[in-house]
């Protein structure tokens, strides 16, 4: 436990879980899109669904998608900012069965045809957990610089990625692999001690079996 989690975060109120956490969830989705977001469909579940207006959860989610950090005063005006940018959004209020009480499901579309669907929950104190990516169950927090790589489940794919990262001199702190079924869709989640640069991420994208690779900088 870090003392700046006790005195901190510096954030826009009123709620670390319903405002700061929501902004982080939006930002995570945008960074996993790898395209300029133009349209969002956001499902709010549980406590998010019941108290989102009073907590500014909706404004914070949109602000996050527009890449604002949790202490950005523009969070209050994110709807107007979105409108000026021509960013369209829609909120759906619907309980997602068995989900954490503070859950949002975000479907994002990008300017160049990119799309991503992400489900995440706000677990307290502004911390979040991404639980589903494009329909695949995952689990990561964005508390560290994180590489999120969608790939085909095949021999050697993971080894190629990890040896490329080793070649960059980047230390892997944790690594997880999630897959739908043998030989099917899979996601690698790699937390690193310092972030690889964009060129390195592009190199990862060119490896055999890799579909998308995105860098989720510490949220």
């Amino acid at each position: 436990m870090n003392i700046f989690d006790i005195i901190g975060p510096i954030m826009i109120g009123p709620s670390s879980s319903h405002t700061a956490g929501a902004a982080r969830i939006g930002r995570a989705a945008a960074r996993l899109l790898d395209d300029e977001p133009v349209k969002a469909k956001i499902t709010l579940s549980g406590s998010f669904m019941r108290t989102y207006q009073g907590h500014g959860t909706d404004k914070a989610l949109i602000a996050g998608i527009l890449d604002m950090p949790v202490d950005d005063l523009r969070i209050r005006d994110s709807f107007e900012i979105a409108q000026k940018k021509g960013f369209e959004y829609e909120f759906i209020l619907e309980d997602i069965p068995d989900a954490h009480p503070n859950t949002a499901l975000i479907a994002l579309e990008g300017k160049n045809g990119g799309c991503v669907t992400m489900r995440a929950c706000s677990v307290g104190g502004g911390a979040i957990r991404v639980e589903e990516l494009n329909g695949l169950a995952v689990s990561f927090t964005g508390a560290m610089d994180t590489l999120v790589i969608s790939h085909t489940d095949a021999p050697g794919v993971i080894a190629n990625v990890s040896s490329l990262i080793a070649g960059l001199g980047v230390n892997i702190a944790t690594m997880q692999v999630f897959r739908r079924n043998a030989g099917g869709d899979a996601v690698m989640v790699i937390e690193t001690d310092h972030a690889p640069d964009n060129d390195s991420v592009r190199m990862i994208r060119r490896l055999r079996g890799i579909r998308t690779a995105n860098l989720l900088l510490k949220l």
Binding site: F4, I6, I7, G8, M11, P14
Partner: protein, 286 residues
């Protein structure tokens, strides 16, 4: 070993380091962050805390529901007109706590300490005591390190989440942190500073989390005032030399147990306590 997970361990480290704030800083530096960077971040936190009090005093601010905003301005005005009881210091402490909490409710920028809902207690304690005694900002930053060490122990051994432990975990922890910080500023011995935290937790034990409409508004903003009053009185007990009759770690453990014993309706679900009260119709736009 320079890390701590109990108050007793923090006391031992503080005795070796010369002060609680130095021991907290040492342990933090052990985790990899530069000491100067940590001081810079804590100084920034103090600055944001001061701004949050100032912004909260804006008479025109309103929360989304309209129930919160403008109250701290009313309170401070009454204090300055000498209409309130308890003297200017207590009046200002109350108004500052309410102001930062209102800033939070109105989507302003605050420092969670330890949470957003309890963000008024620590700034109110520090700034009102600074006005009374003339402590420097550097001294206040050291007091913030002391407070963060106490808060860290409570977070690890009990909880700082209203959903887990009720309001005692939020405003109670904030009061304990502020009490230790004030006792430290006043030059109390290391054990006495920890006793200040212990008195604060003891006096707030069992407080429920019952937000009306599930929002961080009522009673939350007013509980911040109760939190700073609790902190000031607890600090005074310790400063005067009165000792706790049990170890502070035991009181923190008791707070954890009490939190678990609270029914879910009294842990931030917006169902029990004040949240179950009928509201005046004209005040219920939600």
């Amino acid at each position: 070993m320079r890390d701590y997970s109990t108050i007793q361990e923090l006391i031992e480290l503080a005795k070796n380091a010369g002060s609680i704030s130095e021991a907290v800083l040492n342990a933090h530096a052990e985790s990899g962050e530069d000491r100067e960077e940590a001081r810079r971040r804590m100084t920034e936190s103090l600055t944001i805390m001061r701004e949050s009090v100032k912004e909260g005093l804006n008479p025109d601010a309103r929360s989304v529901s309209g129930r919160v905003g403008g109250q701290s301005h009313m309170l401070l005005r009454a204090v300055k007109q000498n209409k309130t009881v308890g003297g200017e210091m207590l009046g200002c402490a109350s108004a500052y706590a309410l102001a930062a909490a209102e800033c939070n409710a109105c989507m302003g920028r605050i420092v969670a300490a330890p949470t957003a809902g309890a963000c008024g207690v620590l700034p109110a304690a520090l700034f009102s005591v600074q006005e009374e005694k003339g402590y420097s900002d550097e001294a206040l930053v050291r007091a913030l390190f002391t407070a963060s060490g106490v808060g860290r122990v409570i977070a690890v051994r009990a909880s700082i989440s209203g959903a887990e432990g009720g309001c005692q975990a939020e405003c109670g922890t904030a009061a304990a942190m502020a009490a230790a910080a004030i006792a430290d500023l006043a030059g109390a011995p290391i054990e006495a500073c920890m006793d200040a935290a212990g008195f604060a937790i003891m006096n707030i034990m069992g407080l429920v989390c019952d937000p009306v409409g599930g929002l961080v508004e009522v009673p939350c903003v007013y509980r911040n005032i109760m939190g700073v009053a609790c902190a000031l009185t607890a600090a005074n007990l310790a400063i005067s030399g009165i000792r706790m009759i049990m170890p502070v770690d035991e009181v923190i453990e008791a707070m954890r147990r009490v939190g678990r014993q609270l029914p879910p309706s009294l842990r931030e679900t917006g169902e029990g306590g004040c949240a179950a009260c009928r509201l005046y119709k004209q005040e219920d736009p939600a």
